[in-house]
Symmetry: C2
Subunit: 346 residues, 2 copies
């Protein structure tokens, strides 16, 4: 299988290099090809998602992605900013389903700002829709009748978009604890009302899953109060963006959590939840675990090799129990040393 | 001065009754008038915000509001649901500025799911815009060209809307710690880009305030990781809804936190952050402190009586230090007994 490595900006190259080392160590039949993406691609080619990169992503069986985001690009027009690369890949490859597992690794109880007993109970998957919502609706700047500048973005979901992500939510819940919480803001938004209506209609097909609904403001509260109550959360693109970052922090460091963005055939893009962290880029301080665990998700979801995925996850777990800690976890290991610690337990 | 008491649904009547007792005990020159709102008003009159109620709210110098929300109304058309009452009051009275202070009361360190040392550092005000954003844009259900049901909601802000709330954000920061964090999603939303542009333009008028910008997903993370870093947050209606509920839970119980919704002349509606909590309504289990503290905010912001506000806040603080606890705080006091405890320290 062909793996596209899109390392991107900031700490992206450092963390993907460690994930690559771990994959290499498993002696699987993988071919790797690299391409530029994000600010790095913009500076080299004038576009954050150059045609060669998109072409590689299309050809590849799976994509291992680092991070995009580069402060030097903040004043560019929107279409040229690094973030457009990840949004473009999600849309062009119809990667509509973002799986974001959040759980606390044993030994990291002290890394969470939550009380250890609250944090230890976290074990959930957030299923976030990635191809719709206010992210991809019509948007722009216009002038009001009174002559004022106005920014606008249209939020919307149609029933087909909700249906495909809701099915995945139900299926994910059926394979786990059997509880699905659909998060919306149906007391204010028509987009949410349609979302809720469709989820309720589909629930008849999943009698084994206990479905509940929660408003997004309440969910943000419950994720602090008692995150252990959640099994699977399914939600739209914008709410999923906010809640999954919040949940990952509840589970300790954002440096630990992987994600998968899947199309309907199981092809996927795998990336750490954290961003490019320009403040620590190039210093060997980044935690590579989120990217290493993203490689494990890739083996499980796109490459049909759950055994290898289990091995990687176990190795990360053992490294942590053995005391391996990068600075984000209160330790002093470098990015490479953390990679070494995982390799030692593989 | 005339105070409108709109107790509303669920625990609304119980908690406003205690706030009323506290106000009465101060022997101020206040007149009270009550009116129905929310589900209670719908069931009695067929509308959640009847003309008499809106009229009273307009005549009053300030409004003390309980809560709206009634599960028996969930299947009504949107315009008749209880939530429309509070949205309608905010819009009709141009209450564009929502002030939501979040801080941990001494003695409540154990009520937060955050580590005591993390929670104890919380002392912030969230300034949320209340009259615009995706709450009040064009919205509805439509059919796509492919014949699918679609829900949509238009998000927008114009520069005048951003300007008035941003000024309040800067002014609030200038009176406190001098730090303002503006939260948006400018890497994806044009509405946010306009928001950010306007906030930056205004910042020249407030050289004494240190302005920063944060994406909403990162903010949701930082509110867990290190909420003590924030002094004043200014943000739009939707992000403010989510982040202020999250922040309130970080600060312990949502049963403790008040809010003010102000117009440009200082007239305001004062309500607890919590909702109608139908599950515990009528059982004397609700914590009245958030509403009592909302009455204190009313004295400070709309009635020009900061001394009386200080007295109420001090009495609540002393009651808590004295060990008074409703069930949400891990205690057994009833709503009325908690009111008694506050009155005893007034
Ligand atoms: C970089 C940004 C556009 C992106 C998003 O908002 O989806 C990021 O926050 C994420 O969650 O992957
Ligand atoms: C009841 C609801 C419409 C309201 C809102 O979303 O503004 C509430 O959550 C709040 O924060 O006051």
């Amino acid at each position: 299988p062909l793996i596209a490595i899109l390392a991107g900006d900031g700490i992206g190259p450092e963390v993907t290099a460690e994930a690559r080392r771990v994959l290499d160590a498993l002696s699987l039949d993988l071919t790797f090809e690299e391409a530029l993406v994000g600010g790095a691609a913009y500076h080299a080619t004038g576009h954050p998602l150059p045609p060669e990169t998109l072409d590689l992503a299309r050809r590849a069986d799976a994509i291992l992605f680092g991070a995009v985001g580069d402060p030097s690009c903040d004043t560019l027009e929107r279409a040229l900013r690094p973030e457009q690369a990840i949004l473009g890949l999600r849309k062009e490859l119809t990667l509509f389903a973002n799986l974001r597992p959040a759980k606390l690794f044993p030994g990291l109880e002290d890394a969470s700002a939550l009380r250890p007993e609250v944090a230890a109970a976290i074990d959930m998957v957030i299923v976030r829709e990635l191809n719709g919502d206010v992210y991809f609706g019509e948007k722009g700047m216009r002038t009001t009748p009174a002559g004022l500048r106005e920014g606008y973005d249209v939020m919307s979901y149609d029933e087909a978009e909700v249906t495909r992500i809701a099915h995945l939510g139900f299926q994910t819940a059926a394979k786990r604890g059997g509880k699905l919480c659909s998060v919306d803001k149906a007391n204010v938004l028509e987009t949410s009302q349609l979302w809720r209506d469709v989820v309720i209609e589909l629930s008849a097909q999943y009698p084994q899953v206990a479905l509940s609904h929660m408003y997004v403001d309440n969910c943000a509260m419950q994720l602090v109060r008692n995150p252990g109550q959640f099994d699977v959360i399914v939600t739209g693109n914008l709410f999923g963006d906010i809640l999954s970052d919040q949940a990952s922090m509840c589970a300790g460091s954002i440096g630990m959590l992987p994600s998968a963005s899947l199309d309907s055939a199981g092809k996927g893009l795998y990336e750490p939840i954290h961003g490019s962290a320009p403040d620590i880029a190039g210093q060997g301080k980044a935690n590579p675990c989120a990217t290493i665990l993203s490689a494990a998700m890739m083996l499980r979801h796109s490459l049909g090799n759950p055994g290898a995925a289990d091995r990687i996850e176990a190795a990360v777990g053992k490294a942590l129990i053995g005391g391996a800690r990068t600075p984000d976890l209160g330790g002093t290991l470098s990015t490479v040393a953390m990679g070494d610690a995982v390799l030692a337990h593989l």
